[in-house]
Each structure stands twice: as C-alpha cells, then as structure tokens.
Symmetry: C2
C-alpha cells in the first residue's frame, strides 16, 4: 500500500447500474454530489467473509437518505444491500471496506434546481484498510487539538455522513505542521467533536465519555457503548473539553476503518503512561471477538459474483 | 435547457491532460476532491469571444491554490489559462461559462495522507448560463432568509471558492419548501453572508453595502464596487442583518453566472416597489457595457481549437 495511487487500485465499484474495476470507477463532474457535496454515504466492513452490523449501517443510511431527501435513488434497502454483496463477491474479498453513496445527481439546466436531479447510487468494495497504520494501532497514535472548528450542526447536520469535509482537511494540515497526522476538532464552544472519519472516547475516573453533539453517530461508537455495559463500565455521550481530553486516563478513537484505536498523546501531553490503557485494549479485543457473533454478522453471498 | 441532464450535455472538458466532450468528463471517485471536498475552483465567463476579467479570476485562483496548498498541480498560471482557452476554442463557444478546479487527488493508501496525493487539474467550458432564468432577471427574483447558517470561516475559509456546500443545499431546500428557489444564509450572529454562488447587495439611503465577512470575494461584486464609484454612489463591505435587507430600497445578487440580478422580494417583504430599482438597473447595464472595454477583455485564442 505504499505505491502512489494504490488506494483504489484494487476492488470493484458500481455506478449507474454497472459494475467495474475500482480503478475505472468515475463520477460525472456534473453531479451535484461533487459540485455541492450534495451526497450522503455509509461505510461498512467485511471480516472473514461477513458484513459486520450491516443492518445498523443500512438503518443509518436510510435515515440519511430521508434527511437529505434522496427519494429518486431507484434502489430500496434490499437492492442497495444486494449491490454491496455483489461488489464484495465480484472483488473476491474476505476482508473489505465497503462504501455506498447517494448523490443528488445532474440537474436539468445551469439553474441547477436540485429537484430536477435524478439521484445516483455509487458503491465500492476495497481490500480492508484502517485509518491508522498497524504500528500505530499497537503503540497508540498521536493527535492534536485543531484550531479549526468543526462545521456546526446549524450549518450541516453531522449525523448525515457526508464528504463536505473541508474543516477536517484544514485540521489535518494543522496536524502535519505539528508533526502529527490526526486532528480532533472542537466546536465553537470549545467542546470536543470528532476527527476525520472517527469518533473519540475519553476514560476518566472509570467513566467513558464520547461527545454528545457535533459528531457522527458512529456504529463502532455504538458498539463501544454496548461492550462497556458488558464490562460494567459506565459509557455515555457527554461533554468533553480539550483539557478533559489531555487529563483523561485513556483516550481512543473509533471507526469502521480500524475499529478501536488507542491514542498515546494529545498535543504534547502523554495520555496515562503513554501506552494504550487496559480498558482500551480490553474493548479492542472484545470488538474483534464480537465479529464471530452471528447476531452481528451477515455472510457475504459470494454466489452473486457472477451475472 | 429543459431536458433532463441538459446541464453538461454540451461543451468541452479537460482532465489528466486530455480534452473530451463535457458529457464524458468524469472524476475518479478516489480523488479527495470528491471524498473530502478537498478542492478549490474558479469560474470565469466568456462573452462575445472574450474572457471577462480573466486576470482577476486567475489572481483569486492562485490565492486559493496557495491557501489550500495545491502545490503539485503541474500547471502554472499560464498553463491553466491555456487550458481554459483550449476548452472554449474546442467547444467553439462565443459565450461560455468556464470552470477550473484543483483537487487534492488520490492518496497512496487507505490511510489517506493528503501529502501523498498528486493534485489534479480539471476544467470545462459550457454554453453560457445564468443562475436565474431570464424572466427572473427581468422582473427580479424572490429569495428567502434561511434558518440554516453559513459554514463559519473558523471552520472553512469562504474566500477559497469550493464545493463543500451542504449548508447551501439545506438552505435551498428551505426555499423550495417556501415556494422560492433562492436562499440567503446568515452567520451565527444573524448577519447576512451569501447564497449559493452569489454575493448580495443592499441599497439603503443611497449607500450600497455587501457583507464584509463570511462570503466569497466575488469578482462581480468587485466590479459593482468599481462601477458604483463611477456613479458617485458609496459602495462598501459592511454588516447587514435580515431586517436591514427587508427594509432596503433595492437588493440585488451578483455572480459570474448571471451578472447583476435584481431581487423583488425577501421572504414575504417586497423590496422597494416590488420591481427592480433604478440603481440596480443602471449598474446592470453598465456591467454588460463594461464587457466591451478592452481593459477587462481577453480574446479567446480560437486558433487553439486544434491540436
């Protein structure tokens, strides 16, 4: 994965009713999904030949479609699920990241009336990857608290997963300038929101807290809430400041692309003793073990690889 | 222009060193310009075979490139200008809207380090169109003041023209729900910012004011400042509330795609006597007359149509 453009060089995609090698998957530039970020998406992963929590992802997807009024997509829930199965099956992947996108589509004229667009479904399955490299998954990753603030929910609803992420882009460049690669964004009141593609948790005094506003309602985050209950650890949505974060006993990130990812350092402050903490490591193990539970697994229908 | 998908059905585009009919112009979905809105753009128009204020657009474009650090684009200012000439010339257009875009490009791996991307230049020339239909240009258009707020500059710099426009999308649907088609957004302090693709002006007591923050530094807006000086009308950037807007003597929108566009009504309030006002109409005439001034016109090099 170190070659230029290796991202997207393998895998299978879908657009406008056709499947193609991922490397050939292209979007018309006239689609408002590009020109206005007028799109929503979801991302689910496949492990050992089975989707993890597929129904939860499809539930969130359907809420996003409704919120954004993508009602001319031409693919209901079952049809979307079938496309996802087909992408994974055609790609022949046992472990995959699967992305599915609704875009507004191309408008009838230069006036760009969004009601004149036919919505478009795009999907793809790529070999599984995580946000952070394996070595950082092991030792913990270093994040910074960005000066750039998260786009507020009064402007864009953060619970509708979308590609309108220029706030994250600016924050990530702040990280690069400080010899880091990941940035968490605060809201305008100084409360921790989220980072590019991940939620965050802080463990303080035995209680796990993840931001209660300004963030995506992550499926991995939801899984952490559930697993914490099994451990009799209180886990809840709440308010966290940057100061709280730096003072926490443990901090970790959650994402479908990587699972539970320990944080070693926030700005110049080591978290705990500077190594992944016991609760983080316990949850991480439980998270991956949960993939063997049939209640969370939807086996990929590999028979759909053909036709 | 009433056929579905007529937008983009004519014209010529450019991507990855190749020209193609606009209808075939597609972006790899792996480009962070799509997945993160990590892009900037500019749009210039051609009238009667000449670009209008091309150098001003290129100046703004270069500021955007620098702000967003697109430093592996592979096309300097002159090379970009040549691509624009070629798009218009190949399309054989005497009146055109010309869009040019820098995207971050495709990252090296699923970790999506933005420094691993090779930036991409995209451009296209389409037959000229305005944001609003001709009949609304004549009689004035009706706008609403949206509840959705503009993405604040602390999150995303509004002076770098970009496609991360989900705030505008939400606001436009507010307009549709209120039998209108255009929405102006306020910032979180209740000050008027801008709409999708346009700046706004209010004339009150003989003074023209356009928002001084939270908006694109429009080239048409700049032209209005210059033309107002010729008319000895004070025109300046300042603060406008929604109440100021509704109470104004005249209101108009400015955009490269349409020029100076009178506003007839804001929410349920008629502006002035409900018809385009005299200052608006005078500026509109002067704006189009200015296109004949060689100081503002760069003739398209139609010899570049071939090869």
């Amino acid at each position: 994965m170190t070659e230029p453009s290796a991202y997207g060089s393998a895998g299978v995609g879908f657009i406008d009713g056709e499947y193609s090698p991922m490397a050939e998957l292209r979007l018309p530039v006239t689609d408002m999904g590009f020109q206005l970020s007028d799109m929503c998406y979801d991302a689910v992963h496949v492990r050992n030949g089975a989707f993890f929590r597929l129904e939860d992802h499809l539930d969130r997807w359907e809420r996003s479609l409704a919120a954004r009024r993508y009602d001319t997509l031409g693919h209901g829930r079952d049809a979307v699920a079938e496309v996802l199965h087909r992408c994974v099956a055609r790609a022949g992947l046992r472990d995959a990241m699967v992305t599915f996108i609704a875009t507004r589509g191309t408008p009838a004229s230069g006036h760009k009336d969004l009601r004149s667009c036919k919505n478009r479904l795009i999907a793809w399955a790529l070999p599984y990857y995580g946000i952070v490299p394996d070595e950082e998954l092991e030792r913990g990753c270093d994040i910074i608290v960005a000066q750039t603030i998260r786009i507020p929910s009064e402007a864009v609803d953060p619970t509708v997963k979308n590609f309108g992420r220029l706030d994250f882009v600016r924050a990530v460049f702040e990280a690069y300038d400080r010899d880091a690669r990941y940035a968490v964004l605060l809201d305008r009141d100084g409360l921790v929101a989220e980072g590019r593609g991940w939620n965050i948790f802080a463990l303080t005094g035995g209680v796990l807290v993840s931001p209660d506003a300004g963030a995506l309602e992550g499926i991995t985050r939801k899984t952490v809430y559930e697993l914490s209950e099994r451990l009799n650890i209180e886990a809840r949505a709440g308010r966290i400041t940057a100061t709280d974060l730096r003072a926490a006993d443990e901090v970790f990130l959650t994402s479908t692309a990587g699972g539970i990812m320990p944080v070693r350092r926030v700005d110049d402050t080591a978290i705990g003793n500077g190594e992944p903490g016991p609760v983080t490591l316990r949850l991480k193990d439980m998270y991956w073990d949960l993939h063997d539970d049939p209640a969370y697994a939807t086996p990929v229908n590999y028979d759909l690889a053909e036709a």
